[in-house]
Amino acid sequence: MNDIITRGLDDLSAMWRIRALEEKIRELRLADQVVGSVHLAIGQESVAVGACSELRAHDALYATYRGHGWAVARGVPPREIFGEVLGRVSGVNGGRGGSAHFSAPQHGFHGENSIVGAGAPIAVGAALAARYDGSGRIAMTVFGDGAMNQGAVTEAMNFAAAFGLGVIFICENNRYSELTPINDMVANPDLSQRATALGIPAVRVDGNDLAQVRTAVRLSVESAVAGRGPSFIEAHTQRLVGHYIGDAEQYRPAGELDADREVEPIAALTRTLLASGVGQETLDRCERRAREEMDRAAAAALADPLVDPATAKEHLYA
């Protein structure tokens, strides 16, 4: 097998790991074993996989409530994610973060954030710290299309631009902010121009195309490492599921989901690999292994003890 195919299979496996984890979480949520609000990124996996593959271990990633995939791509062990959403001692934050607000700094995953736009200024701080600690760390912050309309994001972008901080802003444009189309909420649908106007080099990429995502992120990393400051990437993508579990998705025009399923990254990469001569069973194995891994991780987490309520008051202060 040539390098391209090897990489393709790695990517496919990486995406399947995310999707299998999320589908498992959905299953647990529908069975009420997981409770509360859960936001899945099914269909968006390529952005996380592509972007994280260009980050170094010491770089800092900041995600949103829709962050499971980014955590997996950063290397957070699935059992710790399952444990977290299940409130088990194995949970990466002992159940305190939950699905929408967990973090694992030891894996360079500096956390989800459930306030739209709020992670961007915090990521700027990680890059600011790098100015002084000689680490060469850069920061990446990912947020949605809708978050572009939250003042915090503009403030963060300008702050990073003014001081030339090494921050990569990734806008996952999945066309919707909850139940509302982004194009109804902006006059100019090219969101990347906002970054350009702030003096930040910006590109729009097809988020389903791993190569495009990688190239954009690689150039951004290089630029940041070279001290040329922040970059902005608008990655077009789609979520194949509701904003939250239970979302009736009435806002979708007829046929949209079908079209999305054609272009979504797992389907697209599967097609490409098949066309390159990779056998169906090889492809199936990627999926099966991912599902098996996640089944095992979930089972392990379910068998882990619940976090002891007696610890609830700990860690409020140093």
Binding site: G36, S37, G97, G146, N149, Q150, L179, L306
Partner: protein, 327 residues
């Protein structure tokens, strides 16, 4: 033409919004996902269809939403803005505290801000720390802002209409765990009451409980347990927190000589402290020291069993009541 209909809390809010939009042509209703989708809790469902562009969706820009309400209100509109979670109001607190609250006073009454902020708060299992806070106390320290916290379907209907009709900025704090509850009989179509007042869902002469919001149900459950033992609990549900009905509380405490305040918000700096202070400052004679039952000062963990350990539960309320009555 008052009429009795069966509505759950979400339905009652919807009915109140529909009536306001119908009877007050100056009302506007907007917020994130409020228009076409009808709200993430379905509370504004059908209203855009019925009232057209007076009901609309907005960008995720709470500062712009609230600022626009201040501006529109000063030009004769009566905006009703949904802030999806009270936690999100913190990205735009300036527009509430420094802007809306100042309009009337600073302009010497030349301008007004008759706007309503509908929001909801409270803990729900695994909602995460940023979607779980009870923040009424922050607003209650802001002179110029009216605040109410309906719980029943009837109050959800009535108070919202009073808030909308009120000529000052008013925050209506609902609780998302109540929207989809069972349907209750709600009288609709009555004249809209002025703001203010309290409810007394239980009466008794042995101990006064002042409470508000969804946790009132736990208070009532605890009260029922005491009732079974012949102890009468006077429950004052402060559905309006600004204006606060001091008289009702003082009258009750005057009878019972015992006071417990229960709220879901963090204990320190919660409005319970204000209630306790007003009672003791009044010189009311208490047989035993007053008590507060509230969130143990903490952030809210996602895992339900952890959160439950921090939140006031029926048992804890019952214990507090029994101790206060016993001493």
């Amino acid at each position: 033409m008052p009429e009795i209909v069966k509505l759950n809390v979400g339905g009652a809010v919807n009915a109140a919004l529909a009536r306001a939009l119908e009877e007050m042509p100056e009302t506007l209703l907007y917020g994130e996902d409020v228009g076409k989708p009808g709200g993430v809790f379905g509370v504004s469902r059908g209203l855009q269809k019925r009232f057209g562009d007076r009901v609309f969706d907005t960008p995720i820009s709470e500062t712009a939403m609230l600022g626009a309400a201040v501006g529109a209100a000063s030009f004769g509109r009566r905006p009703i803005v949904e802030i999806m979670w009270i936690d999100f109001s913190l990205v735009a607190f300036d527009q509430i505290v420094n802007q809306a609250a100042n309009v009337r006073y600073v302009s010497e009454g030349r301008t007004a801000a008759p706007l309503t902020i509908r929001t909801q708060q409270g803990t729900a299992p695994a909602a995460c720390a940023q979607h779980s806070q009870n923040l009424e106390a922050l607003l209650l320290h802001v002179p110029g802002i009216r605040v109410c916290m309906p719980r029943t379907a009837q109050d959800s209907y009535d108070l919202l209409l009073s808030a909308i009709a009120c000529d000052d900025p008013t925050v209506v704090i609902e609780n998302r765990t109540l929207y989809a509850g069972t349907k209750q009989e709600v009288t609709v179509g009555q004249p809209i009451a002025p703001i203010g007042g309290h409810r007394r869902p239980r009466s008794g002469d042995d101990v006064t409980v002042v409470t508000w919001g969804a946790i009132t149900q736990k208070v009532l459950d605890a009260a029922d347990r005491l009732e079974a033992d012949g102890v009468g609990v006077d429950v004052i549900e402060a559905v309006w927190l600004n204006p606060f009905d001091d008289e009702a509380v003082l009258e009750s405490v005057g009878r019972t000589g015992r006071l417990v305040v229960v709220h879901e918000a963090a204990r320190t700096g919660g409005f319970g402290a204000e209630v306790v202070s007003r009672v003791v400052e009044s010189g009311a004679q208490l047989a035993v020291p007053p008590r507060r039952v509230a969130l143990k000062d903490s952030r809210i963990p996602s895992a339900p069993q952890l959160a439950a350990a921090l939140l006031p539960q029926t048992d804890e309320i019952e214990t507090a009541l029994r101790e206060v009555v016993r001493s």
